[in-house]
Symmetry: C5
């Protein structure tokens, strides 16, 4: 596990009161990041044995991995998330 970057992730849920918005879930997950995600970014992550399918994680005791960085999310016609580009 040496040298692996780890992120704290809060799953985002569709807000029941306004399904065009996200709200943060209540649990917190530690995931290995192989893609260089930063604080405040929206990422896609995989859990369980599937997380170990990500590059270079096959033999590690890893149960969550970031597998994608998200640029934009659209729900219906409404853009609900857009990544900040630096």
């Amino acid at each position: 596990m040496r040298g692996r970057k780890l992120l704290m992730i809060r799953p985002m849920l569709i807000d029941s009161e306004d399904p065009t918005r996200f709200k943060p879930g209540s649990n917190t997950i530690i995931a290995v990041d192989t893609l260089g995600a930063g604080e405040g970014e929206l990422v896609m992550f995989s859990q369980g044995s599937s997380a170990r399918q990500a590059d270079g994680l096959k033999q590690l005791p890893v149960d969550a991995a970031v597998v994608g960085l998200i640029d934009t999310v659209s729900i219906g016609d409404k853009k609900t998330y857009e990544a900040k580009n630096d």
Copy 2:
């Protein structure tokens, strides 16, 4: 993962107050779609290592996949869901 279509899925639960109806669950799942599902459709999905059994997903860090499109749901005698046919 390049070129894979991803869907945001909200699990549907049987409504405790009226078991002939569904209500949306509170969590949100990102699943790979290999069947061409569209917005507003009811689908069946599989999670964990089982999702990787779907066509062409064996080596991918995928922990959820759409494995079926649902035409109709009947609970008891009542049809609770019917897919819109275009």
Copy 3:
């Protein structure tokens, strides 16, 4: 998956207020049935990679399977469930 019978299952939980009774849980699971269960029956089901150990499901993207039909449940001395025999 062609020709597989699927069931909607609601997990039963022990009722906290009266531990000799069951109450239905709030989630809904779609499981493959290889045993011929019917509506209203109490079954035992298995989830995740374990579900794929059931007969004939090894290669399918199945994450829940009915693995037993339940005849009677006894909690302490009280019989809390008895299958209807036709």
Copy 4:
């Protein structure tokens, strides 16, 4: 699965209001017992593919197994559980 003893298990959680005590969780799990646990005993159980690592369960559609009988639990200095010895 023939001849396997099954137990209904209620997970015990640390009570938030008094962390030296347990309280029963709200879900109910059916686990294979290979150790001879009895009613009212506190056991340790394993879920998912890990449960199938228990003796003789490798090929069975089993997603929970009792893997230990608990004699005593101590939280801090306080003994919170002690098995009844017959």
Copy 5:
């Protein structure tokens, strides 16, 4: 499992009201400790088949393992946890 040290773990969640703090989750997990963690320490743990990737656990019916000891946690600019050094 003989001689394995087991720990009771309470997952820590980010507090919704003050995201720079942790609060204890409501569930309790039993994990194998291969690293010598002590009471009151913050650890990282892995669940499911991933836990069995930890050193020496491949064949055991273990569904949770401590895979790291945490020195400090920083959320934004604020250090939210620091391990006590003896």
